[in-house]
C-alpha cells in the first residue's frame, strides 16, 4: 500500500483511506457504465453489454477521470494545459461520469440503430411507451437519494459546511429542473408528461454535479431551470435525428453533463470554495457571470471537448470490435418477442395460469377420429317420470347439501357425463350397478319408483354420433 499517494494520483486528494477512495471511484465507474444500459436497452445482446462494461471501466472512464481528477493535463498545475492558475473543474463528475457515459451510449446507439418500429417512414416517430411508470418513479427517487452520496461525498472530507451547502445546491437544482421540465412539456405538449418530469429531475441532478460545490444556492436554481428545459428539447431533438434512446439517457446524461460542466464556467464563485476541501480547488476562477471572464469557462469547454472526443472514439472502437466479434444486436424475432425470453429465458412478468409441463409430444397432422380408450359408455333411459320433474330432481340431487353427501349418489356421480331429457350418459363403471344406483337415488329424491333402461354403447364414436343426433 506504500506509495499509493503517488501511484494512484487520482485517488489521492485527501487523507481518506485508499480503499474508501477506491470504493467511491468504483461506484462512479459503475455509474458511467450503467448510463449506457438505458440507451441501448431492448435490442442489445446481454453478453456484449457485459463485455462493454469492462471496456468502459477499464479503458474509457479511468482515462478521463485521470485527466480531470487525477492530476492529468486538464487539471490545473505546472506543466498542464492551462498552467498552474487554471484548470478544468468538475466537482462530482458531470463530465467524468455523466457525459462520458453519455458519449459511450451515443456510440452504442448509433452502431445499434433504433428499435424495430420506432421510426416509421416520412419522419414518423412511434413512441414505445414505458410499461410501468411506478417503477420509473421509484427509480428516479432512488437516484435522487443516491445523489446525496455522490455530490456531498465528493468533498472527501467531513467538512460540514461544504457538505450542507452541496446538499442544498444539489437539491435545489433537482427541484428547479423538475419544475421546469414539467412546465416545458406542459407548454410544448399540452400536458405535463410524467416521463419528462422524471427525466427533468435527473437532468437537474446531472447538471449540478459538476458545479455543486462551486456555485451559490441561488445560481443552482438557474442551473436547474435550464437543465429541465434542455432535457425536454433534447428528447425531441434525438427523436428528430432518429437516434433511439429508450429511456432518454442521452438527453439526461450527455446533454446535461455538458451543460453542468459549462455551468461551472458561468456561475463559479471563488470565495465559496473552502480551502483544503480538495487539493486543487484553490485554483478555481470566478465564472463568466461573476466577473471571471473566460478564465474558467474556457478550460471547461476545452475539457468537455477533449473528454467527449476521447470517450466517443474509444467506446465507438469498443462497440465496433464487439459488433464484429460477438455481435451487438439480437435478432429481429427476439426483439419482437422481448429480450427477457430471448436473452435470459425468463419472462419478466409471469402471471398467466398455464400448463407447466409439456403436456404432449409435438402434434403432427392426423386424420380426424377420436381414439377409443377401452372404457365403456352407457346410455340410461329413465321411465315413469316427466322430463321436467326428472330434471328438477337431478338438479336438487346435485345441490351441495346432505343429498350430495349420500354415498350412493357419489358412486353414481363419478360416472355421469351428461343429462338431457330422460337420457343419462355414463362413462365407465358396471352397468347393473349403475342402473340400480340411479333407480335408488331417483326414487329417494322423487318419492316414487322409476324404471331405468340401460344400453351399452358398442361403439364409442357411434355412441357419440347417436347422442349428437338425439339433440
Amino acid at each position: 500500500m506504500k506509495g499509493y499517494e503517488g501511484d494512484y494520483a487520482s485517488l489521492s486528494w485527501t487523507g481518506v483511506p485508499l480503499w474508501a477512495k477506491f470504493f467511491f471511484q468504483l461506484v462512479f465507474a459503475g455509474t458511467a457504465a450503467t448510463i449506457v444500459s438505458g440507451a441501448v436497452a431492448e435490442r442489445i445482446k446481454y453478453k456484449s453489454f457485459i463485455l462493454f462494461t469492462f471496456i468502459m471501466s477499464i479503458a474509457v472512464y479511468p482515462v478521463v477521470g485521470h485527466w480531470i481528477w487525477g492530476g492529468g493535463f486538464l487539471s490545473p498545475g505546472e506543466g498542464h494545459w492551462f498552467g498552474k492558475d487554471a484548470g478544468m473543474f468538475d466537482f462530482a463528475g458531470s463530465t467524468v461520469v455523466h457525459s462520458v457515459g453519455g458519449w459511450a451510449a451515443l456510440a452504442g446507439v448509433l452502431l445499434l440503430g433504433p428499435r424495430l418500429g420506432k421510426y416509421g417512414p416520412e419522419g414518423k416517430v412511434n413512441p414505445i411507451p414505458g410499461h410501468n411508470l411506478t417503477s420509473a418513479t421509484i427509480g428516479c427517487f432512488v437516484l435522487w437519494f443516491g445523489w446525496f452520496g455522490f455530490n456531498p461525498g465528493s468533498t472527501m472530507a467531513a467538512d460540514v459546511n461544504a457538505i450542507a451547502r452541496i446538499c442544498v445546491t444539489t437539491n435545489t437544482a433537482a427541484a428547479a429542473a423538475t419544475l421546469s421540465a414539467t412546465v416545458t412539456s406542459w407548454i410544448l405538449l399540452g400536458k405535463p408528461d410524467l416521463g419528462m418530469t422524471l427525466n427533468g429531475c435527473l437532468a437537474g441532478l446531472v447538471a449540478i454535479t459538476a458545479p455543486c460545490a462551486y456555485v451559490s444556492v441561488s445560481d443552482s436554481i438557474f442551473i436547474g431551470l435550464i437543465a429541465g428545459a434542455l432535457v425536454v428539447v433534447a428528447v425531441f431533438m434525438f427523436d428528430r435525428l432518429r437516434i433511439d434512446d429508450p429511456v432518454g439517457a442521452l438527453s439526461v446524461h450527455l446533454v446535461n453533463g455538458v451543460w453542468g460542466t459549462l455551468a461551472v464556467g458561468l456561475f463559479s464563485q471563488k470565495e465559496l470554495v473552502q480551502s483544503g476541501q480538495t487539493v486543487s480547488t484553490g485554483l478555481l476562477n470566478n465564472g463568466l457571470l461573476h466577473g471571471g471572464g473566460l478564465s474558467q469557462l474556457l478550460p471547461q469547454a476545452v475539457g468537455i471537448l477533449c473528454a467527449g472526443v476521447y470517450a466517443f472514439a474509444a467506446s465507438a472502437l469498443g462497440w465496433l470490435i464487439l459488433k464484429y466479434t460477438v455481435g451487438i444486436r439480437v435478432s429481429a424475432q427476439e426483439e419482437l418477442e422481448g429480450l427477457d425470453l430471448g436473452e435470459h429465458g425468463n419472462e419478466a412478468y409471469h402471471g398467466f395460469v398455464m400448463a407447466l409441463e409439456p403436456l404432449m409430444a409435438p402434434v403432427e397432422p392426423r386424420p380426424a377420429h377420436v381414439p377409443p380408450d377401452g372404457v365403456k359408455r352407457y346410455t340410461a333411459l329413465v321411465q315413469g317420470v316427466g322430463a321436467d320433474e326428472l330434471a328438477q330432481a337431478w338438479s336438487e340431487l346435485c345441490q351441495p347439501g346432505p343429498a350430495a353427501a349420500d354415498p350412493a349418489f357419489k358412486e353414481l356421480y363419478k360416472h355421469v357425463t351428461t343429462v338431457r331429457g330422460h337420457q343419462f350418459r355414463f362413462r365407465g363403471g358396471d352397468a347393473h350397478r349403475l342402473r340400480s344406483l340411479l333407480e335408488t337415488v331417483l326414487r329417494a329424491q322423487l318419492g316414487k319408483p322409476v324404471e331405468v333402461v340401460l344400453k351399452e354403447d358398442s361403439n364409442y364414436a357411434q355412441a357419440y354420433a347417436e347422442l349428437a343426433e338425439a339433440r
Binding site: V125, N126, P127, I128, P129, G130, S185, L188, L189, K191, D193, G195, M196, N199, V232, V235, F236, D239, G248, A391, W394, S395, C398, V416, T417, T418, V419, R420, G421, R425, R471
Partner: protein, 117 residues
C-alpha cells in the same frame, strides 16, 4: 338458445348488471377487450412523442340465454349502457349468436335448463 355478446364501456358494467338482474338475468362472463370503432382514440404522449391510442378499453359480456330472454337482455343492455342523454359514439354493440347446446359442468345437465342458475 342464444349467446349474446355485448361490447360496452368499462364504467357501465355495474349499471348493466343491475338492469339485467331486474329482468332475472344473472349469469354472465366478462372479459377485458380493446375496441377499434368509430370512437376517436385519445392522444397519449410518451416522453414528448404524441401517439394515438386507437384501441380503446372496453368490456365484453357474454350472456347465454334461452330464447325467451333474448329481447329482455338486449333491452336491459340498451337501457343501461348508453351514455348521457343522447348516447355517445363508442357506447358499443350487441351481437346475437346462435347457441346450439349448453352443458352445466357440475350436474351434466344439457340444453335450456343448463343455461340458467
Amino acid at each position: 338458445m342464444k349467446l349474446i355478446v355485448a361490447i360496452i364501456r368499462p364504467e357501465k358494467l355495474e349499471a348493466v348488471q343491475a338492469a339485467l338482474n331486474r329482468r332475472d338475468v344473472y349469469l354472465m362472463t366478462v372479459s377485458d377487450v380493446r375496441g377499434c370503432g368509430r370512437q376517436r382514440g385519445y392522444t397519449e404522449v410518451f416522453r414528448g412523442q404524441e401517439f394515438q391510442v386507437r384501441l380503446l378499453p372496453k368490456l365484453k359480456l357474454e350472456i347465454a340465454v334461452n330464447d325467451a330472454f333474448v329481447e329482455a337482455t338486449i333491452e336491459a343492455i340498451l337501457e343501461a349502457a348508453r351514455t348521457g342523454e343522447t348516447g355517445a359514439i363508442g357506447d358499443g354493440k350487441i351481437f346475437v349468436l346462435p347457441l346450439e347446446d349448453c352443458v352445466r359442468i357440475r350436474t351434466g345437465e344439457r340444453g335450456g335448463q343448463a343455461i340458467g342458475p
